[in-house]
């Protein structure tokens, strides 16, 4: 195992601080006290920070799993000869879809399914599809033709070719898409608190409502750290499992 560099140490420290704060928030009270006025509580006290963080993480991961399954399946379907007529539209939709702010998707879901977890999950799922779908498309389409030709020529069936060659070679890009999707989802899930989904946005909004900068900063820091650590974790995963794939 390679010795962790500066970045690795920073990551470990960040993770440690985050976990420490979530489990023993009151220990950090003195740090946040200067930000409050008129004796307002320095640490968020209207709910359990750890529970909120886990709830948000859970929401994000659930939606991510669903988006990945659907997006990758659609990506595979659309790049097969039988799905070719859906390909041009798919590409345009991916381009167009990314001009929609995620907040708009969330806002539109509410009148349809009500408040709470449901519209958040729907918004996360729908918006999360795009980066993963786009990267699946690009990954499958940019497989080197010589490699595909060789695979067919050797006697792999279409399914074997997909599983043994196309998907593994597309995997780095797909993982990158999942990474991007996750980061955006953490942000959108935070806003989900405006529609009564359980999450860290609550802390920020409580701070905004009561003019408590300490709350705002706590919520922001935990959310930010969570997003960054998730991003780095997936990056590490990608390097570990896909490091051997290098396409000339």
């Amino acid at each position: 195992m390679r010795a962790p560099g500066v970045a690795g140490i920073l990551r470990a420290v960040a993770l440690g601080l985050l976990v420490a704060f979530l489990i023993w928030p009151q220990r950090f009270a003195p740090l946040f006290a200067p930000l409050t006025q008129y004796g307002a509580p320095p640490i968020y006290d209207q709910g359990n920070l750890l529970a909120l963080a886990l709830a948000q993480l859970g929401t994000v991961c659930c939606a991510a799993v669903a988006s990945t399954v659907v997006a990758v399946s659609l990506g595979i379907l659309v790049t097969r000869p039988s799905g070719a007529e859906f390909l041009p539209l798919s590409r345009t939709l991916v381009n167009v879809g990314q001009t929609f702010p995620p907040v708009a998707v969330l806002a539109v879901a509410v009148p349809l399914v009500g408040f709470g977890l449901k519209p958040t999950l729907i918004a996360l799922f729908a918006y999360g599809l795009l980066p993963i779908f786009e990267n699946t498309l690009v990954g499958l389409k940019t497989c080197p033709p010589a490699v595909l030709e060789a695979a067919s020529g050797m006697g792999m069936s279409a399914r074997q070719r997909l599983m043994a060659v196309e998907l593994p070679l597309a995997m780095p890009l797909i993982l990158e898409g999942i990474r991007v999707s996750l980061v955006i989802s953490v942000g959108t899930a935070t806003i989900g608190s405006t529609v009564a989904a359980k999450g860290l946005g609550e802390v920020i909004i409580a701070g905004l409502l009561s003019n408590n900068n300490a709350f705002i900063l706590q919520g922001a820091l935990v959310t930010g750290l969570m997003a960054v650590l998730l991003y780095e974790a997936l990056g590490g995963l990608e390097r570990r499992f896909c490091g051997t794939v290098r396409i000339e």
Partner: protein, 381 residues
């Protein structure tokens, strides 16, 4: 005859929606629950018949005709017909002089418009229009929409009622939204272009700068707003001049700073990438001719890097238009105020009043800048 599978899918979805879901939802006032109504209930019989006939024709074309131009024309005709039908429904259901009744398009209308929109999008994609044509199509669509709205066609629909109530605020917040998005883009260009050029010239800086900017990019929007509020608030408290300039802990200031920071990565990264693409041979020739470093930069390298930089500008503008929406939460203003107000009041019309212009703005910015980048790419260097 080969059946077009996309057409089949969209036709089936559209027709099912039309038959099973409400075309409009009518409410006596803002707060009571609405009554779902079908197309036949809200327009005169001849109009309903004409609509159904047209939609049937669209479905048939979608199923069997391959010619993209024809598909585009019928899809657009279908969208126009649906829009006119829902506008007419508004007129029919609103007694004259009544400003309280709320008529909104129902699920069937949305589904129909989405399916027709997908059909039109597919046809346009197959036609592969060049950059000029794409912009022309966009402008034409916008002009038609604006004219129809200005003419008062949709006045009786609930969304226009909300607009009527909020007209001045809409204009104000809309202008603010654009100003925030464009302003932060401008600031990012002023700071980011030189930074990008520096990173290109000094490769050792690249990893550190891009890594830091990447890190900032990973932090969710609202979190970054939140993180800036405390320092900016402290700044305003400590330095009276800053407060007088309008820098406060809430409002536009944290939003602008955050947007500026977010805009840096695409600008810097794309500047570096664009400059990297300039062929070494071209630069050598220019230097061999006796141009100074600055001349090579301004006359050769930057113009050739322009298409990629413009793509970065597009990314930033679209991203910023979306993020200014969230800035409404911290008092930054913009169209997001309508979105969050609508969420708070469970009024989808308010939400749409904010969301639709945001989407239209972002989409238009993307189309125009992409077209510009493509034109730059093709233009002789």
């Amino acid at each position: 005859m080969r059946v077009d599978r996309l057409g089949a899918l969209l036709s089936a979805a559209g027709i099912t929606a039309l038959l099973t879901l409400p075309f409009v939802v009518s409410k006596a006032n803002r707060i009571v629950p609405g009554t779902p109504l079908a197309l036949g209930d809200v327009v005169p019989a001849w109009a309903a018949f004409a609509c159904y006939a047209l939609l049937l024709a669209v479905a048939l074309v979608a199923l069997g005709v391959a010619n993209p131009r024809l598909r585009l024309v019928v899809a657009l005709a279908g969208i126009v017909a649906a829009a006119l039908a829902v506008a007419a429904a508004g007129n029919t259901l609103t007694p004259p002089g009544n400003k309280v009744v709320r008529v909104a398009p129902g699920a069937a209308w949305w589904m129909l418009t989405v399916c027709l929109g997908l059909l039109a999008t597919d046809a346009i994609t197959r036609l592969r229009p060049g950059p000029g044509r794409r912009v022309l199509l966009l402008v034409a669509a916008l002009v038609v929409a604006v004219l129809a709205i200005a003419h008062g066609t949709f006045d009786h629909l609930s969304i226009m009622r909300e607009y009527a109530v909020n007209a001045t605020r809409f204009a104000h917040e809309g202008a603010r939204h654009v100003a925030l998005a464009a302003g932060s883009l401008g600031a990012a260009l002023v700071a980011g272009l030189p930074l990008g050029i520096l990173c290109y010239r000094v490769p050792r800086l690249r990893a550190a700068v891009l890594g830091t900017l990447n890190l900032i990019q990973t932090i969710p929007g609202i979190a970054l707003f939140g993180m800036l509020m405390a320092p900016l608030g402290a700044l305003a408290a400590a330095v009276p001049l800053a407060a007088q300039l309008g820098i406060r802990g809430i409002g536009a200031a944290p939003a602008v700073v955050a947007l500026f920071l977010y805009s840096l990565l695409p600008i810097v990264a794309n500047t570096v990438a664009g400059l990297k693409r300039v062929p070494r041979a071209t630069v050598d020739a220019a230097q061999g001719m006796g141009m100074t470093s600055a001349q090579v930069l301004t006359r050769i390298e930057l113009p050739l890097a322009l298409p990629v930089i413009l793509t970065g500008v597009r990314i930033v503008l679209v991203q910023n238009i979306g993020m200014v929406t969230v800035a409404a939460l911290i008092g930054g203003g913009g169209l997001g105020t309508f979105v969050f107000q609508g969420i708070g009041q469970t009024a989808i019309d308010l939400v749409l009043l904010g969301a639709i212009p945001i989407v239209v703005l972002a989409f238009s910015a993307a189309v125009v800048l992409d077209a510009l980048a493509e034109v730059m790419e093709r233009a002789p260097a």
